[in-house]
């Protein structure tokens, strides 16, 4: 409910101000009935030195982590090295349908997803990561019969998700797909995170990991706050001490 009225509001302001690209994004989703789309104040993605991250500098099939929309909710950004599909129809567990519009960048190959596994909330932490994108030539126990990977794998209970098709759950116990983080790219090749598409477990996540928040972000209140203005993007291998993938 909350979400819908919020979106109505943004719809209204979109009519007034037409220049901002993120408002265009919102309208794009509005036309689709805004199903399961939540918009946030847009956040500029920055590199380790604090400079705007250029889309063309992303290495293909490498995991990059940034936190969005909350200070403690990790996301993974990947240039898939091949275009994501466009206008993929997806369904949340409660039956709500929503539409994945595709990736950004020259080839539409850049996507971002919330890195909180929709199954049971496993996610990358500074100590270790069981959840990440696995390059196409990688092997995973989650898809024992597949010729190639190119999927997100959660090695906690071996679920796999297809990033080319909106993060759809394709193997393992997860039934719901990943939450897409909707990106925009501006004329300077710089990336912005503007919203989240699909069902999300941010709320459950906040409930489940209070001690973790204390360890990494001082406390829960701080962890819950929305990211403002900019988010630092780091390669997963620098974000976490250990990457675990089966």
């Amino acid at each position: 409910m909350e979400r819908r009225s919020f979106l109505k509001m943004t719809g209204a302001s979109a009519a007034a101000v037409v220049i901002s690209p993120s408002l265009i994004t919102q309208r794009l989703y509005a036309e689709d009935g805004l199903s399961l789309y939540e918009s946030y104040e847009k956040v500029h993605l920055k590199d380790a030195d604090g400079n705007p991250l250029k889309a063309s500098t992303l290495q293909p099939e490498v995991n990059y982590v940034f936190n969005f929309p909350h200070i403690a909710t990790p996301c993974i950004l990947v240039d898939l090295g091949r275009p994501a599909n466009t206008n993929v129809k997806l369904k949340a567990d409660d039956g709500t349908e929503y539409l994945f519009k595709g990736g950004v960048g020259k080839n539409g190959s850049i996507v971002a997803y919330s890195a909180i596994c929709p199954h049971q909330l496993t996610h990358p932490t500074p100590d270790d990561s069981f959840f990440q994108y696995l390059e196409r030539k990688g092997k995973t126990l989650a898809l024992p019969n597949a010729n190639e990977a190119g999927v997100f794998v959660c090695s906690s209970h071996l679920s796999a998700f297809d990033p080319v098709n909106g993060g759809k759950a394709i193997a393992g116990p997860a039934t719901e797909g990943l939450t897409q983080i909707v990106l925009e790219i501006d004329e300077n090749d710089e990336l912005w995170a503007v919203g989240a598409l699909g069902a999300n477990r941010f709320h459950d996540y906040m409930d489940a990991f209070k001690p973790e928040f204390k360890k990494y972000y001082e406390n829960k209140r701080k962890a819950k706050r929305l990211v403002k203005d900019e988010a630092k993007v780091v390669a997963l291998k620098h974000f976490t001490k250990e990457i675990i993938q089966y």
Binding site: D93, D94, H119, Q120, L121, T122, T125, D127, D128, F130, L141, A142, L143, P144, N145, S155, S156, H157, L158, A171, G172, P173, T175, D204, D207, A208, F209, K210, P211, E212, K215, E242, I244, Q245, Y246
Partner: protein
């Protein structure tokens, strides 16, 4: 990852529990009184373990208008999975790690929780009698787990003897006092041996559990500097779940600590003298023949004895008058999770007769699948019992083999619709990428903790 962070989410549950009472008015009045109403969508779940709690939540998630009540005889949830690490004394693993209140998920998802023991089931009248009132149902779900078969395995033992051995040498395959007793005995033990007796035959809960326990107890002896061995009196000659992987780890880590005997038959336990008597055969064939003349008889002393008897299905299945196999597991309606006998009775978790491994992971899988089938049935729709099959990884199970550093081994099972008419699991024991050619690795050790933390989130969030 530290255990701490997972542990604490439980506290939220405790707080919620204080504020909430079960919403079903339970009475101890006469048999005719029924505590709930059949709404056409009333689902009664017997057993609040892995299967039961999952299906209750899942049904409510699918359709809020389904009226769901869980009946569970225990007052506190305790997990069997991960409990071996508690026995093994791994860092940060406490009773808190393994336990939870039942109220938090019931409140969150809107199902009723009733603490009571089911004592009778009348399928004709569609009623269930409990120690805390009578209940009616449109659909009955049974997830009651297992029972021990001391009688079948030791026919010459009296009731008193069985009770005595069960307390003195706790099996700890059903969570509760048995685990606490075993832990207490390990904590209190002097130098000397721990004897572990895996179930001698038949299907039993969590096939790797006795061997994970062997590893964890060996870890404990080693870390505590206790002079003694873990003696395993087995019947499987090394051919058990993840057998090669366990034995590789035992050789590397616990040489001289684990003494595995593969062809034994336990014949007596004397808890007063801390003695166990067994026959030792030379190979599988002579064990099968069981001729005592062919075997050597040994009587050994123990400090701690974990005697795990053969398993049978929980008597709740027979109570419902369902057709079963000889060990009491419910016969199923083809590939469904419905009983063969009654289309309004579903059976999930360890109690099914499908050929899938009796694990918590599988119990959750069956619960979710059954929830879909029940939803369809309540809506008067048909469903495809083979939908989604084969499932490449229906079960994944980690076993911790070392505590310092923490390392584990793993197995996955593909679930298929077998031509024998049942669901069947095919196992695969992989060598993890980070294991340097070994079956065990530190990454899988972390995965074991992560698996358990995730499963707790599944049941309680």
């Amino acid at each position: 990852m530290s255990m701490e962070r997972r542990d604490l989410f439980k506290l939220a549950g405790v707080a919620a529990a204080a504020a909430v009472l079960p919403s079903v008015a339970v009475t101890t009045a006469g048999a005719a009184e029924i505590a709930n109403k059949a709404s056409g969508k009333t689902v009664l779940v017997v057993g609040g373990g892995f299967g039961g709690l999952t299906i209750a939540k899942e049904l409510k998630k699918k359709d809020k208008t389904i009226d769901v009540t869980v009946i569970e005889k225990k007052d506190i949830f305790m997990a069997c999975p991960f409990s071996n690490t508690y026995l093994g004394g791994l860092e940060g693993v406490s009773l808190e790690t393994l336990t939870h209140d039942f109220y938090a998920p019931a409140t969150k998802h809107g199902y009723n929780f009733v603490q009571a023991e089911v004592t009778a089931i009348d399928r004709k009248a569609k009623t269930v009698t409990t120690t805390n009132g009578n209940f009616t149902y449109d659909i009955l779900v049974l997830s009651p787990g297992i029972a021990y078969d001391y009688k079948g395995q030791f026919p010459e033992w009296s009731e008193e003897k069985i009770a005595h051995v069960a307390h003195a040498c706790p099996a700890a395959l059903m969570p509760g006092s048995e685990h606490l007793a075993l832990k207490r005995q390990l904590v209190d033990m002097d130098d000397g041996d721990v004897v572990i007796v895996p179930p001698a035959q038949g299907k039993y809960r969590c096939p790797p559990a006795p061997y994970e326990r062997t590893s964890m107890v060996a870890n404990y002896l080693k870390e505590e500097g206790i002079k003694g061995k873990v003696i395993v009196l087995d019947t499987r000659g090394g051919k058990f779940s993840k057998g090669a992987a366990f034995q590789e780890s035992w050789k590397d880590l616990y040489d001289g600590i684990i003494d595995y005997k593969g062809f034994t038959k336990v014949i007596d336990v004397d808890p007063a003298k801390n003695e166990i008597t067994y026959l030792e055969f030379t190979d599988a064939a002579s064990l099968l023949e069981g001729d005592p003349e062919e075997a050597k008889k040994h009587t050994i002393k123990y400090q701690v004895c974990n005697l795990i008897p053969n398993n049978i299905c929980s008597p709740v299945i027979k109570m419902a008058g369902l057709e079963t196999n000889p060990a009491g597991y419910a016969l199923m309606d083809g590939y469904t999770l419905r009983s063969k006998t009654d289309k309004d009775v579903y059976v999930i978790g360890d109690a099914v007769s499908h050929g899938i491994p009796p694990s918590g992971h599988t119990a959750i899988w069956t619960a979710k699948r059954a929830a879909g089938q029940i939803q369809a049935q309540l809506a008067g729709k048909s469903f495809d019992p083979k939908a989604g099959l084969p499932v490449p990884v229906g079960n994944v199970c980690y076993s911790m083999v070392s505590g310092n550093p923490e390392e584990a081994i793993m197995v996955t099972h593909e679930f298929v619709a077998h031509e024998n008419g049942m669901l069947v699991g095919n196992g695969n024991v992989p060598k993890p990428k980070d294991g340097n050619g070994k079956f065990r690795s530190k990454g899988t050790g972390k995965a074991t903790r992560e698996w358990f933390a995730g499963v707790k989130r599944e049941l309680f969030m």
